[in-house]
Symmetry: D2
Subunit: 363 residues, 4 copies
Amino acid sequence: MSNSLGVLFRVTSFGESHGPCIGVVVDGCPAGLALDAGVVQSDLDRRSSSGQPGATPRREPDRVRVLSGLYRGRTTGAPICMVVDNTSQDSSAYERLAVTPRPGHADYPAGVRYGGWNDPAGGGRFSGRITAGFVMAGAIARTVLRTVNVEVCAHTVAIGAVEAPPCAPEDVPDRHRANALSCCDGAAADAMVEAIKAAQAAGDSVGGVVECVALGLPPGMGEPVFAGVESEVARALYSIPAVKAVEFGAGFALSRMRGSAANDPFAMLHERVVTTKNDAGGVLGGLTTGMPLVVRAGFKPTPSISRAQKTVNLESGTDTELTIAGRHDACIVPRAVVVVEAMVAIALCDLGLRCGAIQQVVR
Amino acid sequence: MSNSLGVLFRVTSFGESHGPCIGVVVDGCPAGLALDAGVVQSDLDRRSSSGQPGATPRREPDRVRVLSGLYRGRTTGAPICMVVDNTSQDSSAYERLAVTPRPGHADYPAGVRYGGWNDPAGGGRFSGRITAGFVMAGAIARTVLRTVNVEVCAHTVAIGAVEAPPCAPEDVPDRHRANALSCCDGAAADAMVEAIKAAQAAGDSVGGVVECVALGLPPGMGEPVFAGVESEVARALYSIPAVKAVEFGAGFALSRMRGSAANDPFAMLHERVVTTKNDAGGVLGGLTTGMPLVVRAGFKPTPSISRAQKTVNLESGTDTELTIAGRHDACIVPRAVVVVEAMVAIALCDLGLRCGAIQQVVR
Amino acid sequence: MSNSLGVLFRVTSFGESHGPCIGVVVDGCPAGLALDAGVVQSDLDRRSSSGQPGATPRREPDRVRVLSGLYRGRTTGAPICMVVDNTSQDSSAYERLAVTPRPGHADYPAGVRYGGWNDPAGGGRFSGRITAGFVMAGAIARTVLRTVNVEVCAHTVAIGAVEAPPCAPEDVPDRHRANALSCCDGAAADAMVEAIKAAQAAGDSVGGVVECVALGLPPGMGEPVFAGVESEVARALYSIPAVKAVEFGAGFALSRMRGSAANDPFAMLHERVVTTKNDAGGVLGGLTTGMPLVVRAGFKPTPSISRAQKTVNLESGTDTELTIAGRHDACIVPRAVVVVEAMVAIALCDLGLRCGAIQQVVR
Amino acid sequence: MSNSLGVLFRVTSFGESHGPCIGVVVDGCPAGLALDAGVVQSDLDRRSSSGQPGATPRREPDRVRVLSGLYRGRTTGAPICMVVDNTSQDSSAYERLAVTPRPGHADYPAGVRYGGWNDPAGGGRFSGRITAGFVMAGAIARTVLRTVNVEVCAHTVAIGAVEAPPCAPEDVPDRHRANALSCCDGAAADAMVEAIKAAQAAGDSVGGVVECVALGLPPGMGEPVFAGVESEVARALYSIPAVKAVEFGAGFALSRMRGSAANDPFAMLHERVVTTKNDAGGVLGGLTTGMPLVVRAGFKPTPSISRAQKTVNLESGTDTELTIAGRHDACIVPRAVVVVEAMVAIALCDLGLRCGAIQQVVR
């Protein structure tokens, strides 16, 4: 396993769904940063299932405990370890999963990879619950980015077939928390809730798309050729369970355009270089252009559904059926919005430190 | 800059478009592998502009020279350095680019990042020409993967608005070299040629989509949570200039499905565990499932076009127009097919070594 | 800060002397390893000050708590987080250290580096107490190494001017725990105790040398040219506070020999290749030879002494005197023996995984 | 193999003793640095065997060729590849080494590690000749360090039993090139020459000790706890073939001192914090103190000697004798002085970039 991410801002994830806790170590955070555990808690609360349509009945208070790295309310340059305890564990439903792997879950390949020794309870290390650690690290990263006036905001742009109308990047911060779905458009949010409820009523689940913007990035950030902004951000996003697609700016639509339409013209605005549109999503040659970074992550539907599904019995080597009990979300997309923000912020914070755009000590 | 990729199979890229050569160092290649420079040359030839519709008139012979790491036709465990010389350099057209950055190119952010010291000739380090190094490393990676019966094949699935009909992953190896576009469907290939020619005639360019499959992967390969297959493959693909979107399996389409449709049912086939469809693209929880890996990369159109474009003069701080002379491709997608194969193979080779699926010495 | 070590077996350290706890995350431990917290506790107990001559009166129970990575008494392939709580904190003595840095301690350069934001209490991140985390990780590493019959043992070979007579590497395991000093020779141990007591009585401290041997290593382990055995082991050992010198085999004495005396002749013994002496310390060209690895680490005396010392007042910019209160060891060498074992084991475990000598799953 | 070193200033080594060339890629060099190939050549010339007492008759011109990364005499931020061609290859003597491994050389463990596939000619990848690449990278690193007024200088302090009297760090730059041995004391240098000649006359070889100082380092550089200055410098030095011991400041002698003698008192001097002696070698807690870095590397004698030596025949599994023909140095220490400088400079350059003491762009 490889549970560390980043070069200078390095995040190490640990913990299992039904173990004692979910945790994270953030190494390389600049020293002297005023850091309130409340900032971390606030992001954890946004990840909470509470108030989410179609969310799992598992209720975890998810109170952050900071185990290291702070002194009198400020970062010290030392690694910051944070945990949330697991309190609501119901492992009984997971006993059989090593034998009859759940479709869409990691049960089968994980069993092969770890020789059957992996923790099956609640998906163990492959549970979406580990993203609580990502969120805690992301809260630190976002606090760091704010010292250089970079704001990272994500919003739900699609749930199943329901798509929200486009929202200008600079409007996202004001609008993305307007509803429980973190959707910038109220009417679309209502339709999304209906789509989730309909899936849930059918014993089914539904996926969606989260868009994330980063505002205030200076031009020239990124480490090409192998650690350009897109490489680092995509890699971080693909660490989120259920993400199967990532695109920047106009993304796949760019491949259907001609160059004259796709290229973003440069212009001067208030003595700054800008582009008059932003189909590149704020990245050229792996480097930020100074325009908003725009990235979209496509989530597959929650693989845990109530319906019977076809699978195999690995002991007998025969086909069989499986009906998953346990608790699960009909749609994890709204809860994943803050996770997307976290991963984008972690990647940008590392790149900012690597190129010197972020200083290692707050002065 | 960060010009090394990989943990155990480590690729280091160097060279500029108009410098003496383009090169690569491959470190961590297993010892004892029979390696013919012809294998590398063959992949380089596929990247050649020769015979490609709408390709640049720049003609480089691109003959590989192996500078280290081989002994009597076999790898030794030592780093393999390979170069191709740059012979057809015409730098005269690039003098002004640092002052009037080309839309869609890295000129502007690179100038900011490197304080104006970056090599502008031919795009310098940001030229697509550096992918010759990727291809040489990819040829090694693919040779390594073949020792464990893994085959990596890419094909063009869209050029502009022209989409090829789906091709089953196992059919790609037989069909992907049927035409100059590396398209598995002849009629689509013809239409793609027309689309490229039309763009070229209009002084314009066009993008497209390349799909890559990897056959024969064992289940359980990958290093979650931060170096799962998707993370590592996407990161590698986003190192290719012009890639703006990457998706696995059904990709963004999964976000519009319900779970009951998206999940791939498991079944036994010839005493092996398979899935009866493969919308996951062969990856669950960041680990290979044993089904074909399927990934698609969306390319933006070549930013270099003959038409006048709006840009800025960085010296005077005013808006201006730019018409790009120099040589460029109306569509780089067909030439990028082998580059996509290379990057996917490099990522998989590294993951195979990291989990022990590939041995460090050929015995 | 850079608080992670290793490529495939990766150790991340966190915690401060007077924070809530000292902890470590071990990532990359093979799955399926029977792991008793008692093994970890046993090593922690050896690091304890209890029973050590001249040791600090600070008494920490140092009970390990495993926060992740185990399931039903076995490793799962997931990261293992372990902590010991800090219970005996007396920070009052440390208030002034940021202003009047202690000679021989990190107070001054750390204040510069972290802009004065570093945690000063008990030395914060620079306290020898963080080695409790190293020891916990080392206990895991040593358990892994035992699966391939490698045993790592350290012993005290010098305290101040008292040197123990040489002990053959293969005799160390039986003899190194014979006394509180982990010295293989009883008479020398007695003299060492006297040396420590004499220093303590004088309000002073004393250093020493720890030798570590690793038995059972297969030939050919190591990752030259930049991650050979010596590079990786030395790097790990220099992470231990107070280590100022590291040598392998005959070490500095080799530089005074002629080649005919320094070279270790090869010979066949029981159908194995051996060397008839081992001045190379079991390493040639950065690779293990199959002979015992022998490495020595020189420790400076504990910088905290009771005597008045000359230092500066950083606020007034004037010279001043400092008398350190607080609790400290007159000699940390005996307590460091298990820390040396830990760091050597961590480095070897990583190298063993990197070359495939250690498998990633216990079968 | 692991042939890359460094995090932000990353050096990748390639090439074999009898292959086409020896090379290196330096990635992460700040952009805008005026770089004359003459600077690199000058260091290569210091490594040359020409004029060295007891040096190999192999004469390589070792002219550097820069393959990438420079534009109009300045660095561009792109990776810098440099090579020297191998021209004087005489492989005939090495045919049998895979069967009868040379004592003190890597032949035996390398054969085990690489399954017999490693290049045996001239030691292949394990030849001291690969340090030509280290020297080229070191010349870049030293040029970078000079932009922040850091000077790295090494000198020979012992050859066999001959020891030079101590030389104050600040005097080394003026005196270390006074003779062919890079010894700061003329009389000692003469005695060293005699020691080398005596060994050579006896068909034998001799080792020695090189001390390196770095002047002008700012306080607070280093990345504890696992990448402190001593860890990074020692790791780099142990990459040099024949180094078996590394110590900082008073080194092993510190372990025989009491704390009151070992601690370096702080004092104010010209409004700067200094220590009134420097037994710590300029490092506390893994961080530079602002005093000169002082490190010593102990070299074993050249393992290639003309005398008959005992070894084994790996094919027959019997003991045998070996007399090494081929060309070799009776003492490599004087030639290694510039290699030591290179490795120390490379490590410091990386640490300087990691903490922001060195900027990524020259402005």
